[in-house]
Amino acid sequence: MEFKEVRELLEALCSADGTSGQENCAADTAEKLLAEFMPVSRDALGSVMGRKGEGKGIILDAHIDQIGLVVTGINENGFIKVAKVGGADIRVLTAAQVTIHGKKDIFGVITSVPPHLADEKDEGKALPFDKITIDAGMSKAELAEIVTPGDRITFNGPFDSLMGSRIVSPCVDDRAGVAAILRCLQLLKDKNTCPIEVMFSCQEETGGSGAAAGSFSTLSDEAIATDVSFASAPGVSKEKYRSLGDGALIGFAPSLDYEMSRKLTAIAKERGIKAAPEIMGGSTGTNCDDIQIARGGIKTALISIPIRNMHTAVEVADLSDIEETAKLMAAYIEERSKEYA
């Protein structure tokens, strides 16, 4: 099977839920996988922190949380009212299948209007968010035994293999990044490297608190964050965005460390790692923005994995891009280790 290691890591990570602020399940899975390489701990906000070696080295970051919904109440007829956790896309909510993480996990369907009853004037418009409710097939009283305001809701969806090395799953953003870091550590397993600090940060989707707090506790002066980015697709310009299969996308942005970006580019070229530049005009909208200004400042680079349909239950990625991202991070650490020695 192609990209067996990455596939196994990603499938394990995607099968564990973890909306922002309630990352426990995904964080447990990631922590267990990370513990094979280094001692691990959990910080006050819930980020998974790992450290290999003493002193300064390189920080690797990916966020462990995913978008979802949160229970705000139950109406008289037993339908669950919700708010967004992160940027859930209103256009894909109706008829979605979900899991409500109450006292136990229960199944639910987001309500929708059948065409027989639809109002013509609403055609082409997503149902407004205040009309979004979840049908769990229970009465208010039955639900109250299981579900409490604050309980998180995740989108269900299979981890399916598409053609070639492409896969689809609901939380590729950013389990793909977590998988890339774990794969990078596999590649470096028997090698002598500089110290490596790993953060699987919580709460990226709700504003980056996890990365801000997490990087305060690190020691190193440089960091590479890996997150997902937009892949070209119908409506997403091929000229502006890279395609699935283009490899590791090396970020160039005013807020990113220019030397690191250039070094990553040079290493990719030298080692024959598939990569392409991704240019942004300001800050990056990723954990990099918080890591960069943590403590007295940390030099930060971003490597992105292109995906389609971001923030839906059908995020599509190419395993080859995750593998290339892992290879590029590993190569960078190998090269920099010579200078830390």
């Binding site: 109406n75 369907v109 097939g137 053609m163």
Partner: protein, 338 residues
């Protein structure tokens, strides 16, 4: 019957491609009745009762489901399609589908929310802009897996949840098919005819031929109909209500029902203690549209399973309602055939 509904719902069978559903039904009724498959693909079955019937009663359920059909493959390998039956794009974008006999997994993609302009937020892409992504690298690769005309069904498994609810694609009308199969496999008091029809979702076409062929005195259409008992809906706005039994129609967009049969069905339910309710909104339509005006006219009755979110990947109904529908279908078949 639950196991049978589960198996029936999992089969792909959009209008015009009901063959897998037909094979399954035949495997279940073979040996319990006489049957034939007509020119359109309808199954017409004759089941002998304990006694001959004085009136010919036809009981109908449709085999097809709504879905999509492949109409093109673009230069980047994305699949273009058209809806088969009435499917609102709002319930399919962002969903998983299976394409063709090989069941190639695909997804209905959408431009990420991050790249949408403020004033376009909440706008659903136009039908012509929808596409299915099977992960093909290009057109040539996609053509190896998918052909024009391939059918597309929702990837949505069967789930039992909540207090006695089930969720699946195609409950409309595989649950009705299961009711008919269950009756055929049991002993019935009077001779009866059954039709498992094709192409209901594209204009009740199969039933037109089946009704002509059977030439019944009475017809009972067993369906899955819209339950809008969701959110804050009250009273008759709910159309019908999950858990309140068999929905009986007096009028919909296709048929003005026989007042006589409507009244007799409600009376029978009351008399026999079968849970039943009115369908309280003139909406939708079903095979009764074709059957009631067949030949010189047929007195027709529709008995339905209240189903939430029909024509979406996630139809939801209550299992006990299917039992109520079956009980009332049996009671009415007996009373009408006598």
């Amino acid at each position: 019957m639950l196991e049978m509904i589960k198996e029936l719902c999992s089969l792909p069978g959009i209008s015009g491609r009901e063959e897998k559903v037909r094979e399954y039904i035949i495997s279940k009724i073979d040996g319990y009745c006489e049957y034939k498959v007509d020119n359109l693909g309808n199954i017409i079955a004759f089941k002998k009762g304990t006694d001959p019937a004085s009136k010919k009663v036809m009981i109908d359920a449709h085999m097809d489901e709504v879905g999509m059909i492949v109409t093109g493959i673009d230069s980047d390998g994305f699949i273009k399609f058209e809806q088969v039956g009435s499917v609102d794009s709002r319930v399919i974008i962002g969903r998983n589908v299976l394409v063709g006999d090989k069941g190639i997994p695909g997804v209905l993609g959408i431009k990420p929310i991050h790249l949408i302009k403020k004033d376009e937020e909440g706008n659903i892409p136009k039908n012509d802009d929808l596409y299915i992504d099977i992960g093909a690298a290009n057109k040539e690769e996609a053509e190896k897996a998918v052909s024009l005309g391939d059918y597309i069904v929702f990837e949505s498994d069967f789930v039992e949840f909540g207090s006695g609810f089930i969720k699946s694609k195609a409950i409309d009308d595989r649950a009705g098919c299961a009711v008919l199969i269950d009756i055929i496999r049991s002993d019935i008091p009077y001779d009866c005819l059954f039709s498992f029809t094709v192409q209901e979702e594209i204009g009740t076409r199969g039933a037109a031929a089946a009704a002509f062929d059977i030439d019944p005195d009475y017809a009972i259409v067993v369906e899955s109909t819209t339950a809008a008992d969701i959110n804050d809906a009250k009273g008759e706005d709910r159309v019908c209500v999950c858990g309140e039994g068999c929905a009986v129609s007096f009028m919909d967009r296709g048929t003005v029902y026989s007042r006589d049969l409507y009244t007799r069905a409600l009376d029978a339910a009351k008399e026999l203690g079968i849970k039943a309710q009115y369908k309280t909104r003139v909406a939708g339509g079903n095979n009764a549209r074709s059957i009631h005006k067949s030949r010189g006219g047929v007195k027709t009755l529709t008995l339905s399973i209240p189903t939430r979110y029909i024509h979406s990947p996630c139809c939801v109904c209550k299992y006990e309602d299917i039992e109520s529908v079956k009980a009332l279908v049996c009671a009415m078949a007996e009373r009408l055939a006598k």
